[in-house]
């Protein structure tokens, strides 16, 4: 197939460019065909133009899954908008699939709807393999039955004009297709491609430019419906990254020098980032022999001077809990990042869940009060590490940061942080320690105390996980045990006294208040905003501090007729066999809020293994309003 410039011009003049305020695009291929590179580049271009974006990686569970299989889909979802985009959204508007089989994994995931525009490489229709031809034909019929708007594109045959290895070229061709559909300035893209491939030489640059141009021209000539998502460039410098990269950069910006970890999905990529970057700030990543050693090493490093970080996910957290309790008991500053995945047990290693809140809070033996933070955006992943280190030192104990697989791999632009000197950890104090001050000089009111660091003359003491007195001497006396428990617990109350109540999204009173935490922020607020636009009296709050909780919650709850949490973890559905108000197990935040505020807080939680899209939250909230109406 060849396309003359004249044809393209005709098509362009005949085609409509529809203005939309947001759109969702997916590109999927077999692993190794570059769909992820293409998706990243496209998202990057949109973000540079000033679009809000949220991207999600589509990752197969295996390293080298069989080609043309449902299990093998690899790629990206990009949601772009005129305004900032806060979540991955619902069904895709456009999907580009480099073969028809990988598209089925997206269909299975509920990513498509009737009317979704599907571009499929039609090369497979002409395969030498009769079986492939048959499967392709069958799929095309099926796609039509599902009412997708199917465009069969000659991706591979077009690519062959420019390269002998189309597997390595299709991504640039598809980038051309997407840029044409979304009416992006091709000059800017050309510059980007030239820069990206400059190191590989002129021939490679030219090949990629040709592939891009071919995709762009073919689309202009053959695709009628095109879109523009208006964008406004930000006046301030912006960065775009995923949550795990943001955590890693936060570690650097906080002046944390030791990251001790054991590989575990989906947390490991934090360490991948730091393994390269951290040594440039003088630190290092320690890959320990197991999860227990990882936290033990971090605690040793923290004790010896500067607060260290350990990064893990649910199963790793389970193994770390004994040491976590030690850090509470012996008051060792420590940052523990938990990138949650689906549980229980090995569960869903690559999928999102918010199932570790109670484990983080309670899994250590005895009473082990600790600080727990939950960032809700990529930007907060960066800033919360800095906050966590400071809190760990101020409050002398572990601070946990709970993120999840959605934040870990989602990408979002945010204002570039202006690094500050006071974010960094102070140099290790080696000054003489006043010998009259014991190592646990608990302030009777706050429980706060300053720790001596090895090397400080006069501060010599033996840290222990056994019950101990102010001198850190082992003490089994009941009065001392009672007092020291109180001192460690008091610190959380002191922190709470310094916090502000959460902001209410929407009106301060109404019929329904939705409470969330972590990565669900965008989806919850999107659903709430739709209902509010319809006149429903619904608001939401999103908690960032889970231990201690932000103050003033009960007062906020009292202004709403109904209060419920929306979470990505398990709760018993109302009306299921044997489930009664007495037997029902609530979602994790709901359990905590019920016990802390004595408010009858309901919950709606799901464990789909994927982020809960705004439409599902919306549907549930509508159902609640219908019930309220009936009751009235």
């Amino acid at each position: 197939m060849s396309t003359s410039t004249a044809d393209a011009e005709i098509a362009k003049s005949a085609s409509a460019v529809q203005i939309v305020d947001q759109h969702i695009v997916e590109i999927v291929s077999d692993s190794g065909e570059g769909a992820q590179t293409c998706g990243q580049m496209f998202a990057d271009l949109c973000a540079r133009n000033g679009n809000g974006i949220w991207t999600v990686e589509i990752i197969p569970a295996e390293i080298e899954p069989p080609s043309r299989s449902r299990a093998g889909a690899s790629g990206n979802r990009i949601r772009l908008g005129t305004k900032p985009v806060t979540n991955a959204g619902d069904c895709a508007d456009i999907v580009v699939a480099l073969n028809e089989q990988v598209l089925y994994s997206r269909i299975d995931a509920g990513a498509l709807r009737a009317g979704t525009v599907v571009f499929v490489d039609r090369t497979w229709a002409e395969s030498d393999d009769a079986d492939i031809r048959a499967r392709y034909a069958e799929a095309m019929k099926d796609f039509n039955d599902r009412n997708y708007f199917v465009v069969e594109a000659p991706i591979e045959s077009e690519c062959r004009k420019h390269t002998d290895d189309p597997r390595k070229g299709k991504n640039m061709w598809v980038l051309g297709l997407l840029c044409a559909i979304y009416d992006l300035d091709r000059g800017g893209v050309n510059d980007n491609i030239t820069k990206r491939f400059a190191k590989k030489g002129d021939a490679v640059v030219k090949k990629n430019l040709d592939l891009f141009a071919d995709g762009y021209d073919w689309t202009l000539a053959h695709v009628q419906q095109r879109y523009r998502v208006p964008a406004k460039k930000s006046t301030q410098p912006m960065v775009v990254m995923n949550g795990n990269q943001a955590l890693g950069l936060g570690v650097m910006a906080a002046g944390i020098e030791v990251c001790s970890m054991y590989p575990i999905t989906p947390a490991t990529s934090v360490s991948h980032f730091l393994a390269t970057a951290l040594q440039e700030t003088g630190g290092f990543v320690h890959q320990a022999e197991d999860e227990i050693a990882a936290i033990g090493f971090a605690i040793g490093a923290s004790y010896a001077g500067k607060t260290a970080v350990t990064v893990t996910s649910g199963p790793g957290l389970a193994l770390k809990t004994e040491f976590l309790g030690y850090a509470v008991m012996a008051e060792v500053p420590l940052v523990v990042i938990v990138v949650q995945r689906g549980g229980p047990s090995t569960g869903l290693p690559t999928k999102i869940e918010q199932g570790d809140l109670l484990a983080a809070l309670y899994a250590s033996p005895g009473d082990s009060p600790k600080i727990i933070l939950a960032p809700a955006t990529i930007e907060e992943c960066f800033h919360f590490v800095i906050t966590a280190r400071k809190l760990a030192e101020e409050f002398r104990g572990p601070v946990m940061i709970l993120t999840d697989a959605n934040l870990a791999t989602g990408q979002q632009p945010f204002p570039k942080p202006q690094l500050q000197a006071d974010w960094l950890a102070a140099p290790v104090d080696q000054a003489h320690w006043d010998e009259k001050v014991p190592p646990f000089d608990w302030d009777a009111e706050t429980g706060l105390s300053k720790r001596p660091i090895p090397g400080q003359r006069g501060g010599e003491y033996i840290l222990t996980g056994l019950a101990h007195d102010e001198e850190s001497h082992v003490a089994y006396e009941s009065a001392i045990n009672q007092k020291t428990m109180e001192m460690r617990s008091r610190k959380l109350a002191v922190l709470q006294s310094a916090l502000q109540p959460p902001e209410v999204h929407g009106d301060a009173s109404g019929d329904l208040l939705v409470i969330g935490w972590g990565s669900t922020l965008g989806a919850i607020e999107e659903a709430v905003d739709i209902l509010r636009a319809e006149g429903k009296r619904v608001s939401s709050i999103h908690l960032r501090f889970l231990s201690p909780m932000e103050p003033g919650l009960k007062a906020i709850f009292q202004n709403f007729k109904n209060v419920m949490t929306v979470e990505v973890n398990y709760s018993d559905p109302v009306g299921a066999p044997y489930i009664t108000p007495e037997s029902r197990r609530y979602s994790q935040l709901a359990q905590l809020l019920r016990s802390q505020t004595l408010t009858d807080i309901d919950c709606w939680s799901q464990v789909p293994g994927s982020p809960i899209p705004p439409s599902r939250i919306l549907a549930e909230l509508r159902r609640r309003f219908d019930m309220l109406t009936k009751e009235n």
Partner: protein, 317 residues
């Protein structure tokens, strides 16, 4: 003074530490426990070497032996059962200036902490490991340990241990990058002291297994060896553990052994006719992980901010 660095002069008047400067709480080990001898040896070494107490650090796990740090008046870390090694590695990873000892027992090191033991030996960070091996769990009252001899009765094996004991020397010598492996006995203070001193002077992880009497549960186990010196085999070499010639003669069973010879060390470690006493193996050139982890120390705040800014800018649109 010649040979002293300039900053040293600022510390005048010169400080002299006595044994008392290293003595912490009164030991609560049973009378006759071999741990007392080890504590005395470490305190004497610290005094002889004039280690500043604030720069000295003892890390332990859980067990009778792991109470050791409490009886020192240095910095100490009495941690979790089996987990002394990861903590010690974490401390050492950023503190080349500390003088570090790890005190562990046969349950702590060879059972619950086995994974860490193996990897700590491989990391070869600079500290002295004292394995106080009494062949029994003492603190929890008489349970079989991995080094308990076959047939020995305990509360968990009242009919006698059914398995042969794990050999800590063979295991350690089997680990890639082991750099110092020695064995000594608590009832020969000069040899004990000299072994700990050699271990301290070695740069890297020095692993010292100390046969240690438990007067309460396993007194009989080492009693024979204590009374009949021929049950020990003294390893002698100019690069080995030095011992006064008169004291050498007390060991009727003596063998020349070059601590460079790993194959011979493994053979000696696994022979069952006598307890080897002395230095089995030393490799001063084994790779040291602490040199890697400490490489970035001393960056200024400005350098750190510049590096972070560089990485942050990579994500700029």
């Amino acid at each position: 003074m010649q040979g002293l660095r300039n900053e040293w002069e600022a510390e005048a008047p010169q400080r002299t530490c006595t044994l008392e400067d290293y003595q912490g709480a009164a030991p609560r080990w049973c009378p006759g426990c071999g741990d007392h001898a080890v504590l005395n040896a470490v305190q004497k070494l610290a005094r002889d070497k004039q280690l500043p107490p604030e720069k000295t650090m003892v890390v332990s796990g859980i067990g009778c032996s792991s109470r050791f740090p409490h009886y020192m008046s240095t910095y100490g870390f009495h941690g979790l059962h089996g987990r002394a090694f990861p903590v010690a590695c974490g401390v050492r990873s950023r503190r080349p200036d500390l003088h570090m000892f790890v005190v562990t027992g046969d349950g702590d090191c060879c059972a619950i902490g086995t994974a860490h033991w193996i990897h700590a030996i491989r990391y070869n960070m600079d500290f002295t490991v004292l394995l106080l091996d009494n062949n029994i769990y003492g603190l929890t009252k008489n349970q079989t340990s991995p080094t308990t001899h076959i047939g020995e009765k305990s509360n968990t094996h009242p009919r006698g241990n059914v398995l042969p004991p794990l050999n800590p020397l063979s295991v350690t010598l089997g680990i890639t990058n082991a750099s110092f492996v020695a064995q000594t006995v608590d009832w020969n203070p000069p040899h004990l002291f000299n072994t700990i001193r050699s271990a301290y002077e070695h740069k890297g992880t020095s692993f010292v297994r100390i046969l240690q009497r438990c007067p309460h549960f396993t007194q009989h186990i080492f009693a024979e060896a204590q009374n009949d010196m021929s049950q020990c085999r003294l390893l002698l070499h100019e690069d080995g553990i030095p011992l006064d010639p008169q004291l050498q003669r007390l060991f009727p069973n003596r063998t020349a052994h070059n601590p460079n010879d790993l194959a011979a060390a493994r053979r000696i470690a696994s022979s069952e006719d006598a307890y080897p006493v002395g230095l089995l193996y030393r490799d001063p050139n084994a790779a040291r992980y602490d040199l890697q982890t400490q490489a970035g120390l001393g960056r200024s705040q400005a350098e750190k901010m510049a590096a972070t800014e560089k990485w942050l800018s990579r994500y700029e649109l």
